[in-house]
């Protein structure tokens, strides 16, 4: 099986996602980067599930998808709340507290 390709794709997605979380300052872009990491995880899980010929991987991926949806729901609500306050979703402006 061409397992390597899947793992490579997942690793690349993971790296792009981590880069996005660290480098992007727009809250929505950060959320999308987190989604990239989660999808890298899903690719990994399904590929490994196929490799071992067990269903756990697929089941795990389903759980990840469902939980990610719940997470993003909460995240977008928070982004909207901040947008209403500041008219901006720039994370650099979310800096009332320091130290």
């Amino acid at each position: 099986m061409l397992l390597n390709q899947f793992l490579l794709l997942a690793a690349i997605l993971f790296c792009i996602g981590v880069y996005g979380v660290i480098a992007r300052r727009n809250a929505v872009m950060v959320l999308m980067s987190v989604e990239l990491i989660l999808n890298a995880v899903n690719i990994n899980l399904v590929a490994f599930g196929q490799l071992h010929d067990v269903t756990f991987g697929h089941v795990f991926a389903l759980f990840v998808i469902a939980v990610a949806a719940a997470e993003v729901g909460v995240g977008l609500a928070l982004v909207i709340m901040i947008y209403r306050n500041k008219r901006s979703v720039d994370l650099d402006q979310v800096d009332l507290m320091k130290g």
Partner: protein, 519 residues
Amino acid sequence: MSFVSSVFSSVGATIAQAAPDQFGEFVRPNIDWFAISPELVLLAVGALLTIVDIMLLERGKALAPSLAGLGLLAPLVPITLLALDDAGTRTFFKGAAGGAYVVDDYSLVLKAMFLLGAYIVVLISTNDIAEGDYWESEYYSMLVASVLGMVMMSSARDLISVFVALELLSIPAYMLAAWKKRDARSHEAGMKYYLMGVFASAILLYGMSILFGLTGSTVLTEIAASDAVATNTPLMTLAVVFIVVGFGFKVSAVPFHTWAPDTYQGAPLPITAFLAVSSKAAGFVGLMTMIFVGLLGQADAWEPLLWVLAAATMTVGNLIALRQTNVVRLLAYSGVAQAGFMLAPFAVGGTNPGDAVEAIVVYLLIYTAMNLGAFAVVITLARKTGSAELSSLGGGFQYAPGLTVALTIFMFALAGIPPLGGWFAKFEVFRVVVADQSLGAIALAVIMALNSVIALYYYARIASQAWFNDAPDGDNSPVPVPPSLRSAVFICAVLTVLFGVLPQTVGRFGELAGNIAGI
């Protein structure tokens, strides 16, 4: 009932007729309802809170705190019955070795701790949430949902159930941190906590997916028994590092602690107490389960990593705490430093995991009592002064002598002064670390000793502020203490003193927890 079962069996028969090769007769899985009754009761309480809110509207708000409080205590009944039951460990979804969801002494002790801790959080919340600018009924449903996640985390012994429990306890907590409707600081607290939290769980998940790929199983005991965990491969080490880092965010270990002070300062104060105590404890429970049940064979990989994390966490947390002027931020950094002490037994846990678990659980139990107490006192005093600055504590002894004594008890307990609870927590950790006798362990013990001394300075500074300074605004009118806050402070103070004077009480629970199934 017979009607329902006949409908189900006829449906099953129809499906079986339609495709006889694929579907046999439907067999109901054999579920041990008694073992999961604490979770079921908690779930029912959460549903009841929502229903009461919908049905009674405004009138329901007054009921919510007492309903939530009683509802959090109710699962203690089945937990006690389960603890007294002789049937031993109960396992769900059994695999070749162990199961995905386990009810053993370890999980029962931790469930009781989470429920009592959450009960005290409800006591702390009652007045603050009723008077502030909050959605009140939803607050308690969210709190109960988060506690349900923690209770599940105590029993989770599988990558999937650990992950689901972690998210169930985190997602309501993100919302609770941003619960102040029109306060930009609270929004910022929620946003920072959320971004760090989802990033951490994504990293954790990536580690879990590699772990699953190497071992071919999600059940932790099967992972522990697999060949992949016994051999050191770079990929395995990567999985271990990602998993430790993922939980490192949750327990606010340095260098993943940056969210903690901002979130604690901005969130509603009762939620700060909840995050600093229960949520952190849940992170430790998840880390303990993953490390000691699943990855014991990889001790060579995680012992040095957690050594560095423990040393860095307690040192950095303490040094930054020294120059804080806001009590809540100070308690946040002190919580970071305390997390360093709780990480220390991990650094030597590879040789004797049972003892390490015992020390960590004892620390968690005592930490819950003393830190919740500290927050309860700070919240009560902040009701009068309206500020959480260190200088606002001045004059405390003149207008609230009882609270000041309680504050002193909690601060000296956090510093680890006998005969208050904290000394036994630190003693247990020292005992486990020194028993290892390796050079690294001795070095860690020395770092811990130095940090205990540094910590005493800023804990004493908080207490002395209340004892010896005058009120900054000269207002010495007595502080109103609502009954729920009074009982929260009282319960925490009694437990803190009891655990210190009679350490065998909490030690017994630690011993029980040390018998974690699977190691």
